[in-house]
């Protein structure tokens, strides 16, 4: 029974589920570290997902789709950067507007491009990087080990690996490069950064655009590697789980990834458990709400305080 639930593909599925969350969460981390709140991750992800599918359908290459998804994410993020940084608009209001805009824009474009609402036709998805036989000698001990390793570690598509690499590289960069030092300082004390001659506006723009690229990539993973088509509002709150993962991961890239993996695991588990509904009667909603419950618990300071960057959400005015 338990052996039917705890299988290698449960963990493999957790990594897959975690990927779009993690990419957007790392985007959120970078953005918030610079001092800009980004609740628009949801919308950016949606636009990325759509752009990826549209370009893939037009040109037949999902890789071109990935590029398009990233660029589309950057373009939408640029709106947020302009209103938040230059116009010093309320960042939450701007993010809310972008989420609504993304919903409308993708739905509208879908109808004028494909003539119908709902779901696009299927595309050629991006294939897993490695392809080894899954059942190699499953009778032996090493055979079992191999199968677990093969399924959990070697079965994934490129962006799933990419997300792990991005998490590690971003973590390293945040603590070892000029960019990272400036980023960490920007969200805490922008005036201190300004007085040593580093541009606050430029630093924040770069961070917001990076978050757009990452959320766009998250969208690409969703459509081009996982689902294989675009459906209206298909992100379905993933942008907000990503925001939660960023908080749960204490505003660090590796933390964001780890939190996303935990949340992804809950998701994989609830899907798995639906097969065993007869025997185990835990409602799937219980697992689905875990990311949000855990994040509130963390924010409430039950397991150590989660404190964001000091200057996050506050527009910076020179002088």
């Amino acid at each position: 029974m338990l052996g039917d639930i705890i299988t290698p593909d449960l963990f493999a599925s957790a990594f897959r589920m975690a990927t779009p969350l993690a990419l957007a969460a790392i985007g959120g981390t970078i953005c918030e570290r610079s001092g800009v709140v980004n609740i628009a991750l949801e919308g950016i992800m949606l636009v990325g997902a759509f752009a990826g599918v549209a370009v893939t359908l037009a040109f037949g290459s999902p890789w071109l789709g990935v590029v398009a998804a990233v660029l589309a994410g950057v373009a939408i993020a640029a709106i947020h950067a302009f209103t938040s940084i230059n116009l010093r608009s309320d960042q939450v209001v701007s993010g809310t507007a972008i989420n609504i805009l993304a919903l409308g824009l993708t739905g509208f474009l879908m109808e004028i491009m494909y003539g119908h609402p709902g779901t696009t036709e299927a595309i050629i998805t991006i294939k897993p990087v490695f392809r080894f036989a899954t059942e190699r000698g499953s009778g032996t001990f090493f055979g079992v080990i191999w199968n677990w390793f093969n399924t959990i570690v070697l079965s994934h598509t490129p962006i799933v690996y990419g997300a792990i690499i991005i998490a590690v590289v971003a973590q390293w960069a945040m603590y070892n490069t000029r960019w990272g030092l400036h980023l960490r300082a920007l969200g805490e004390h922008p005036r201190a950064v300004d007085t040593v001659g580093v541009s606050v506006v430029r630093g924040r723009w770069i961070a917001v655009l990076m978050s757009g690229a990452l959320a766009g990539l998250a969208g690409a993973n969703l459509t081009l590697e996982q689902v294989g088509s675009f459906t209206e509002n298909m992100t379905n709150g993933r942008g907000f789980i990503a925001l939660a993962a960023n908080i749960f991961g204490r505003w660090t890239p590796v933390g964001s990834y780890s939190a996303s993996l935990l949340f992804g695991f809950f998701d994989a588990l609830q899907i798995k458990l639906q097969i065993f509904r007869g025997e185990i009667n835990i409602p799937p909603q219980f697992f689905l709400m875990m990311p949000y419950v855990l994040t509130v618990v963390v924010l409430a300071g039950v397991v150590g305080r989660a404190v964001g960057p000091a200057a996050v959400g506050k527009p910076y005015k020179k002088g």
Partner: protein, 522 residues
Amino acid sequence: MPLLELREITKAFPGVLANDRVSMKLDKGEIVALLGENGAGKSTLMNVVYGLLTADDGEILVDEKHVKIKSPRHAIDLGIGMVHQHFMLVEPLTVTENIVLGREPGRFGVIDFATARQRVREISDRYSLKVDPDAKIIDLSVGMQQRVEILKALYQGARVLILDEPTAVLTPQEVTELFRVVRSLVDEGLSAVFITHKLEEVIAIADRILVMRDGAVVGETTPSATDEIGLARMMVGRDVVLSVEKGVSQCGDVVLSVNDVHIEDDRSLEAVKGVSFAICGGEILAIAGVDGNGQRELVESIVGLRRPTRGTIELKGNDITRANARASIEAGVSHIPEDRQRRGLVLEFNIAENIILGDHREPPAADHGIMHPKAIAELARKRIADYDIRTPSERVLADSLSGGNQQKVVVAREIGRNPELLVAAQPTRGLDVGAIEFVHTQIIRERDSGKAVLLVTFELEEVLSLADRILVIYEGRIVKEFAVADADAETLGYFMTGGGGSKLAEEQESKPVESSVAGGDK
């Protein structure tokens, strides 16, 4: 050859001439002190030098070359470093990260932390400024943080170090240490500008002293050519222009009694260290002191915005030590806050709505949660007439009133409430002469009607013309009490700036410094 020279710097803000043709010179290896009261224009001048403000007129020369300093970055490039009163340090980052910020060693964008740490160590060794390069700022004491600020300026290549009120936040030991550091920096060939309003510090540290008042330099001297009394006279020495008619105080029962209160500031440092006093009805007690000596915390705890850590506060025999602002108002305490735009008024509210703030639950403004607009408007119109608030209607937003009229709204509300005790903090700050006179008259009328008044101010004329009794506060303690007849501006200024006993004296009791004990027994 002067390293830095300012010629006729003029800077005006709306309504204020902050710097009026100020000139100064700074030579290599010299410490110049800029001495003056709050608002004398010292910080404005240095912000101009540091590129944070642009002068309206005048010239700046660095190494005898004309420069237009456009930004802090530019100032840094010219070798000017500044230690701000509010530190420009990123708290969760390490000492090294803060120091190298903006000028990180390394290649291809990767910071070479080994080199960075090495350079921080070199500088800290050279000037004996010991600090752990890997400590996080948030874990350091304020004195240590200041040291990091100095190291940051040195790392950036500062030849001129501007220190803005550097001792305001320090303990006596830290002040001694800071002076040693500044001395050793100057011995190494740096120059420093030391902004302060504390006399003993000037005497102890400066090579040359520029005294500023009302935006202009009013005197230049050296520590050997003057003493604290002479400096105090220069700093505050203007005639008392305002005289208020007032009779002899008729002291009644004790209204407020403050017993050995200790109060912490926002950073949990003890700001008031055991203060006791009492005020009787019909008396104006003034607490005179330079800004930042604990009077803000004292006022906040009396009006219920802050809780003392120790001691008691009683109003007519009732313990109000732990009262909140609402209970305090209901007990009969009125409060004219020092910052009327931040604490005194809701600028987006109209006059009528502001007039009832604090009384908005009680009749006539409201009962059982329902407000009575007619009664409120009537009350507001009465106050507008009684307190001569210049406005076409009670529905005008507070935001669009002049400063004087805004303060009249606050005064009308607080005195109109008919309190037992009126606490007035800097009640005339930024007002014109007419408005000042009005506020003074109201305060005296309040006293004459038998109420107790606590006046907290650093305006000496205000103290001398209003108070019946004066307490001087310095570093969280009452250092002197005067009957108003025994006080004059110079003596007050002397005690307010630490003349009667100080951080330095406290620290150096065993090894008295000749300059800081001069006139100590006056």
